[in-house]
């Protein structure tokens, strides 16, 4: 917004000449994007209109079949099951993640709290993200197995009389997936939010404190509104990442999405089609996933974007 104003103010040929640099600076991105993403994407979309898969060593197709792949996916009631699985597991992980990372980021940047050992805590929070998802899943599988340490502890504490089968329970499996994502990504989100909070002018806080604002008021009236761009970023990237959730449930359930496919995400389903290198069905599913992601992201954008504009107008 500010830039537009600057440009208008000048309106001279000099500025136009500067603006030429906008294109130049975009060249690397778009060159790479076109080669490594757009071409594969177009291939994917193109593939989605064909019957095209492998049967053993034989190639079936490609035969043009129009929208038949889309019809067969959309007619499959399982599609909505996998969509809701994905969203449910994302929400289970995201809610504690955003709440805790906001809280912690706020505590760390709040000068009045003067927390000791900040450096340690900040450093530690991100560490789980360094573990490969596959290794992390292996550990969880061991910990929560029927005779694993968690069950042993629960039995020893008298909470359970016999082992609870975590991976045979839909609720428990989903919570575990959500919990793993929560542990893995909270530090990441916290760092992003902290960087955002650091960008906020400290004099604003000082002024508020002088005016006698409480910590709560400062958080809701100053920190949160100014954090909106980064929050929006976190929300959108997490949503997109969530819709693409794959490795954690894939490895935790050995690709089965069990119990009863209740932890199968959309990408895991896509992966099932890629087993037979079903470019047709896989392509169609990808396109649908792309559209779904687009719609959800747009909704998030619209909702928060409008609020943003209202604030700036004020």
């Amino acid at each position: 917004m500010a830039n537009e104003k600057t440009a208008e103010r000048h309106g001279s040929s000099k500025v136009v000449r500067y603006n030429r640099w906008g294109y130049i600076f975009l060249i690397p991105f778009f060159t790479i994007f076109v080669i490594f993403q757009l071409i594969p994407l177009v291939t994917t979309i193109w593939n989605s209109f064909f019957e095209n898969y492998r049967s053993g060593l034989k190639q079936i197709g490609p035969n043009f079949i129009g929208l038949a792949n889309y019809v067969s996916i959309l007619e499959n009631p399982d599609l909505w099951k996998y969509v809701s699985n994905t969203l449910i597991m994302w929400v289970i992980g995201f809610i504690p993640q955003i709440v805790l990372s906001l809280l912690m980021a706020y505590w760390f940047t709040d000068p009045s709290l003067r927390l000791k050992g900040q450096r340690f805590f900040k450093t530690v929070m991100y560490l789980p993200n360094l573990i490969m998802a596959s290794a992390f899943s292996m550990l969880f599988f061991t910990l929560f197995s029927d005779h694993g340490p968690v069950n042993q502890m629960l039995i020893a504490a008298g909470i359970l009389s016999q082992p609870f089968k975590f991976f045979s329970s839909t609720v428990a499996s989903r919570v575990l997936v959500g919990f793993m994502n929560f542990i893995m990504w909270t530090g990441n989100t916290m760092i992003l939010l902290m960087a955002g909070m650091m960008g906020i002018d400290p004099s604003l806080y000082e002024a508020a404190e002088v005016d006698g604002a409480t910590a709560n008021q400062i958080f809701w009236r100053i920190t949160l509104p100014l954090l909106k761009p980064i929050l929006l970023y976190v929300l959108i990237t997490s949503l997109i990442g969530g819709l693409q959730m794959y490795d954690v449930p894939q490895i935790l359930t050995n690709g089965t999405g069990d119990p009863a496919r209740n932890t199968m995400t959309m990408i895991m389903w896509l992966n099932k089609h890629l087993y037979s290198r079903n470019y047709g069905m896989g392509g169609a599913l990808s396109v649908l996933l792309f559209i779904l992601t687009g719609i959800l992201s747009l909704v998030v954008f619209k909702v928060s974007g409008n609020a943003d504009k209202a604030k700036q107008a004020k």
């Binding site: 049967s55 599988f141 069990d258």
Partner: protein, 487 residues
């Protein structure tokens, strides 16, 4: 702080530049390699014989090499595709004249051996084969696949490929006399629909029931293999024993342990005329297992998982495992002093039905430029009595050679400590004779995996009925194999 950051950036820059240089290096070398390929390609297309293509390719290479090449009529590089290092270590240890250069390279005489290892995770190994084998004959001679390995569960996919991707024993000049000491089931697994055998194995992984001697003494009153076998030679008796074990605080085994035993003894293949058929014996597995699992007499643990492995120790309270010879040492954690295996606490019997588990088959890739060497490797590793005795003794492979097994069964060299001194070889040999693998299909791997997955849901109660679980199985199968139909 600023300085540090700059240092870091400059360091990163150096790293990136070296990498870019390395990147350039490898890309230019790959271009030069590929520029040689089209030349060889066109000639190959024009003259069709493999030999002609080789000479051209050799000529395209540096003159010195070409000069050295003229005497030899076969390729200078032996390319082997595999998913782990098992075969590589067998060759290194037992093939005469093999010299190891490094982890993925070796030499046999003046032929370079190149191992390409693609893990089987996510079907990557087969995907890799699928993409290179059909065009193998047209590839650059030095990068052509000469040998690829397969497992039983998907072997037929490559045997029945049209056009063929694996050379038949006839084409290689291996006769039925050469193979006379091999077990029939190991041939059936790699025999195509026209009766041509297109692969060969050095292993005969006939398997049996491995029982906990302590539990047998306590519950059955004896740990003598013959007597225990008498109490477990049918599935009905197996269920009776399971009940007694449960009463004594033991779990029989996992439902997944018994699956292979049932699925090896089917009356028809998984796929008949493009349609998936659940065999009666496999349905019997479901019914038997459901009853045993509901009664708490069997568990539903995944093979190789932590819960499943608990039974390897006395306090795990598991009566038996099902497994072949390679299962004895490592898989039973004999290296851990507190395990049952380390104290010789296991016994071995045939069990309710004969079955086999595992094994690797060697195939000669269609288009290989080293047929003579490939043939020699096959014969030495899979038919030579001396080498195979060596393999059996060093690697505890149960070798695919009835003469060798007979010899091991006849003297004390086959007595195994983990089995309390029992000699399992006569039983393994007898088992290998009885295994019948004529009812396999191209789709066994996917069908077996998906069926067990779906039925685990039924045993655990995630699916209320068998029909629900079967529906889940059918869904999974059509995802994996879009060309198949289900009920």
């Amino acid at each position: 702080m600023k300085k540090r950051m700059q240092k870091l950036f400059s360091l990163a820059l150096v790293v990136s530049m070296t990498a870019a240089l390395a990147g350039c290096g490898s890309s230019s070398s790959s271009t030069s390699a590929s520029s040689a390929a089209p030349a060889a390609d066109t000639t190959a297309a024009a003259e069709t014989t493999a030999a002609a293509a080789e000479t051209t390719a050799a000529a395209a290479e540096t003159t010195t090499e070409a000069a050295a090449d003229t005497s030899a009529d076969e390729g200078k590089t032996l390319n082997i595709q595999c998913w782990n290092t098992e075969f590589q270590s067998r060759i290194t240890d037992h093939y005469p004249g093999y010299e190891k250069v490094d982890d993925t390279h070796g030499k046999i005489g003046d032929v370079d051996v190149v191992w390409t290892i693609t893990p089987s995770d996510d079907n990557a190994y087969q995907n890799n084969l699928d993409s290179i084998l059909p065009d193998n004959a047209n590839a650059d001679p030095d990068s052509r696949v000469d040998i690829f390995l397969v497992e039983a569960d998907y072997a037929l996919k490559y045997m029945n490929a049209d056009p063929a991707v694996a050379m038949s024993m006839d084409e290689l000049g291996i006769t039925s006399d050469d193979l006379s000491k091999q077990y029939q089931y190991t041939k059936d697994i790699v025999t195509d629909s026209n009766g041509e055998q297109r692969g060969i194995s050095w292993q005969a992984c006939s398997a049996g029931l491995i029982y906990n001697r302590e539990a047998a003494k306590e519950v059955l009153g004896t740990d003598d293999p013959d007597e225990v076998q008498g109490m477990l030679d049918s599935w009905d008796k197996f269920a009776d024993v399971a009940k007694k074990m449960k009463d004594a605080g033991y779990t029989m085994c996992s439902v997944n342990d018994t699956y292979r035993v049932y699925s090896n003894n089917v009356s028809g293949p998984w796929v008949q005329d493009g349609k998936v058929v659940v065999d009666d014996n496999i349905k019997k597995w479901v019914d038997d297992s459901k009853a045993l699992a509901d009664a708490g007499e069997e568990n539903t643990y995944e093979l190789w998982g932590d819960d499943w492995a608990k039974g390897k120790y006395p306090d795990g309270k598991v009566f038996c495992y099902f497994g072949p010879a390679w299962f004895f040492n490592f898989s039973l954690s004999a290296d851990d002093a507190s395990s049952i295996a380390a104290n010789g606490g296991w016994g071995f019997i045939t069990g309710p039905q004969s079955f086999y588990w595992g094994g690797t088959w060697i195939c000669a890739a269609e288009g290989t430029d080293n047929p003579t060497l490939v043939k020699d490797i096959m014969l030495k590793m899979c038919t030579d009595d001396d080498i195979m005795t060596e393999i059996a003794q060093k690697d505890s492979d149960c070798v695919n050679n009835s003469a060798v097994l007979e010899k091991l069964a006849s003297d004390d060299s086959g007595n195994l400590a983990i089995l309390g001194g029992q000699n399992p070889y006569s039983m393994l040999a007898a088992g290998a004779e009885k295994v019948d693998m004529s009812n396999i299909s191209d789709y066994d791997q996917g069908c077996n995996e998906e069926f067990q997955t779906a039925m685990k849901g039924y045993f655990d109660g995630s699916y209320a009925t068998y029909d629900d679980a079967l529906a889940a199985f059918n869904t999974a199968i059509t995802e994996k194999y879009p060309e198949l139909t289900t009920d």
